[in-house]
């Protein structure tokens, strides 16, 4: 599509300022079942999202039909959408930040890898899971995917930015069966380089985790000292991250309204958003509005340092944009989201988290995060599984329990923090943590 033409034409039809956000993505995914390729998928997409200010309001239109013949009708739809808006807040198209910290340029390493090598990787992974333990009867969801995406942002104020990103993702689930029980555990690796995948060790970990969940039972309902696995902590932070969003503040949907610079969590808690973090999965120099990204402390030593903002919410709350104006998808309006948000790790080895717990629960997985939480009230009640902790050691597996609590209370009861920071595929990072007490429902 001719972006220059869109900008020129927009002026002619009375649009005050306009911005084009163009995304391309190409990718491959392969899934393996019983040693054979079950499904092979390729994609090749280019999507253009346009937003513009008409009569002071911001209208959006996104299209996958990239024909210059459609420009006039797209601009007309954009104007219609702008006219729908009743909110009084100022709309902003940005001329750009003074400077951008650049990410190191990397060549895409996946282009040089043949499909045969990717299939071989999956075969190794599947074999490793099956051979690690005879109780593993099946391997499911054994798949590899890679995606290369590129974004261009061009606007009528002279902004012209471009960024690209690529990653590879390998995952599988082991299925263990006995006469009376079925267990399944899934795990994955995400890498920016093909040679960094380690299918043998991932397979061994999946197999061990799957069989370790056999012979599980529930526990009596009461509150227990609890250790939360790093992935579970990241899941919870991800589910409640809207609390820190300037957009939720504007919508009056956050408990943290008016809590800036007050103690909201224990003094041992720091939550940081670092767009340049090496191990992060959402590295970025600028957000989807062209605002430069910077390291941002959300919580420091338990004190809430402030909300993440995009251009619009920053203006509303008379502060500076923080470089968090991201679109939840290319088809949506710009919202507010973190880049690499993570809980700062501590120094404890994992075993040290278990020490001193006479009877407790180690939670390795929570489910139903889209349903069992209320992101506004901060409460959660989630189906969980893991292991019993007895006399400071892990004992039998635990299943069919519900862990219930409140997000802020939870982070006020953290006794110890592990050193095992891990980023989940949702882009949130956390170490394992030990919680003084958490309500567990079982039998």
């Amino acid at each position: 599509m001719d972006f220059e033409k869109i900008v020129t034409r927009s002026k002619e039809v009375g649009i005050e300022d306009i911005e084009i956000y163009a995304g391309t993505s190409i990718g491959t995914s392969i899934s393996l079942f019983n040693g054979e390729v079950d499904k092979f998928t390729v994609k090749d997409l280019e999507v253009v999202s346009i937003r513009g200010i008409y009569q002071g309001k911001m209208g959006y239109i996104t299209t996958e039909k990239l024909s210059d013949d459609d420009i006039d009708s797209l601009l007309e739809s954009l104007k219609q959408n702008a006219l729908m808006i009743e909110a009084k807040e100022e709309s902003i198209i940005y001329e750009g930040s003074k400077e951008y910290r650049l990410l190191p340029h990397k060549e895409n390493p996946f282009l040089k890898v043949s499909s045969a090598e990717k299939i071989e990787l999956l075969k190794t992974l599947e074999k490793s899971i099956k051979e690690t333990d005879p109780r593993i009867k099946q391997v499911s969801n054994c798949s590899y995917s890679e995606s290369v995406s590129e974004v261009r942002i061009i606007n009528s104020k002279g902004l012209n930015l471009k960024k690209s990103d690529f990653y590879g993702f390998m995952m599988a689930a082991g299925v263990a069966r006995t006469e009376s029980e079925v267990t399944s555990v899934f795990d994955y690796q995400i890498k920016d380089n093909f040679t960094s995948f380690d299918p043998v060790s991932l397979g061994q970990e999946i197999a061990k985790a799957t069989v370790s969940k056999l012979n599980a039972d529930t526990v009596a309902s009461k509150s227990y000292p609890v250790v939360l696995k790093n992935d579970v902590v990241a899941d919870l932070i991800g589910a409640f991250k809207g609390m820190f969003s300037g957009e939720m503040l504007f919508k009056n949907l956050t408990l943290l309204k008016g809590k800036e610079n007050t103690q909201i969590m224990g003094e041992n808690i720091s939550i940081i958003d670092d767009p340049f973090l090496e191990e992060g999965l959402s590295k970025s120099s600028f957000d989807d509005e062209g605002v430069a990204c910077n390291e941002f402390e959300v919580v420091k030593d338990g004190v809430f340092k402030g909300f993440m903002h995009n251009l619009k919410t920053a203006k509303i709350f008379k502060t500076n944009p923080t470089g968090h104006g991201f679109k939840p998808s290319i088809y949506a309006s710009v919202g507010v989201a973190p880049t690499n948000l993570y809980l700062k790790p501590g120094t404890n080895e994992f075993d040290a988290l278990l020490e001193g717990i006479e009877e407790g629960i180690y939670i390795t997985q929570v489910e139903g995060l889209h349903a069992g939480i209320d992101p506004v009230s901060g409460s959660f009640s989630l189906k969980s599984s893991g292991f019993l902790i007895e006399q400071g050691k892990l004992s039998r597996a635990v299943k069919l329990i519900v862990a219930s609590g409140k997000f802020l209370e939870l982070f006020n009861q953290v006794e110890q923090i592990g050193n095992d920071l891990r980023f989940t595929y949702s882009g949130i990072g956390a170490p394992s943590i030990k919680i003084k007490q958490l309500q567990i429902s079982g039998k």
Binding site: G59, I61, M84, V182, V402, S404
Partner: protein, 462 residues
Amino acid sequence: MITKNQAKEILNAGLAYGADFVELYFEDTINQSIECSGGLIQKSNTAKVSGVGIRVLKEDKEIYGYTNNLNHDHLISLATSLGEGFLGSRITEAKELVAIQKPIHTKIRKHPLLVSSSEKTALVKELYEGAKTYSDEITQVVVNLVDKIQTIWIFNSDGLFATDERTNSRISAQVVASANGIMETATDNFGKNQGYEMFEEINLTEFGRKIAESAVTMLHAPEMVGQVLPVVIHNAFGGVILHEACGHSLEATSVAKNLSVFSNKLGEKIASDIVTAVDDGTIEDAWGSLNIDDEGTPTRRNVLIEHGILKSYLIDKRNARKMKSLSTASARRESYKFSPTSRMTNTFFENGKDTFEDIIKSTKYGLFAKKMGGGSVLPTTGEFNFAVNEGYMIEDGKITHPVRGATLIGSGSDVLLKIDAISDNLSFGHGMCGSLSGSIPANVGQPTIRVSSMTVGGRGGK
């Protein structure tokens, strides 16, 4: 969008290296959405989705490609390169394309594109006002109105040509009640496989008021105390229990690979005798209905469980090959960016013989789950969870006080056998279901049922 001759050329290109089946799924969709918060329209978006998914099969192996570059030469080369993955030589040619006869289960009277901006704004405001004015404790109301017009063209090498236009509309609201620094959210939505005529059958003021009432009730409710007890699950969206506890585990996606707890159980008793469960894509105007599925097969009524006996799975064409069975017209996908697989449409328990009043009266102690939230399941283990958005305790046959924050968990094979009462008040709730082939409208339904014993989680008690 494309002529039959062009389609046939692409199909033949896909068959060149030994594939035995090629399918093209062209799509042209307009999504329109508006969002109102604080009583003002804050967002208005249009998204035009347009592209093709090309699927190439050899026996049960699949190669899939999708693109929004619809240049004919590009599609010929894409189909060829996909087919090349099978490393063989041509075994068949594409058959003559013949348009299928399809039944019509939805009649659009008020097309979304013909509805004015002011009319849409008025609908959203009506719901907003209904909720906002219910109580001073209502601190926020967010209303979303979305409509989608999807046109599809399906061609396959067996000679099938099918086209359809699907229109659905949905209004949803998130209502927040606050007091003393505590916030509580209630949500609900109403959707149909219809245009804006669907609003003739709903009073939006009353709908908003009810959501607000639920938020305020829950704000003042004590926390649920975790325990094992009988649970009465109310009708409409309560049917999410069937969807999660059983429906997903009957999809060929997991059944065909022997990954489901219900694999190889046809003809066996998997539920209590009073349970009959159905997936029916043909219900007129219903949220989950389709004239044809996403492989071009006219939808139908599938009895899944009859008097407790497993009668059928939900099967798409590719999994039918794996299972040596036939399609049940259950192939669905969010868009051309997904290859189709077996999914639910309108899934519900049939009416039973009890009445709602009798079920409550005969429950000495239990939880009444009046409004359900969403949930999820892992079909491999059958373990599911779902949230109770509005719950009440039942004591000595009477509904006594509200409780909040309850979550129900269990395993599908266990819970279906524990259904000991089913009433006669079947109705539906309108959800979005996310799975392998994307997010699709799924209608869940049931009459009020009772499960004799379930694990319920909550923050209450010590």
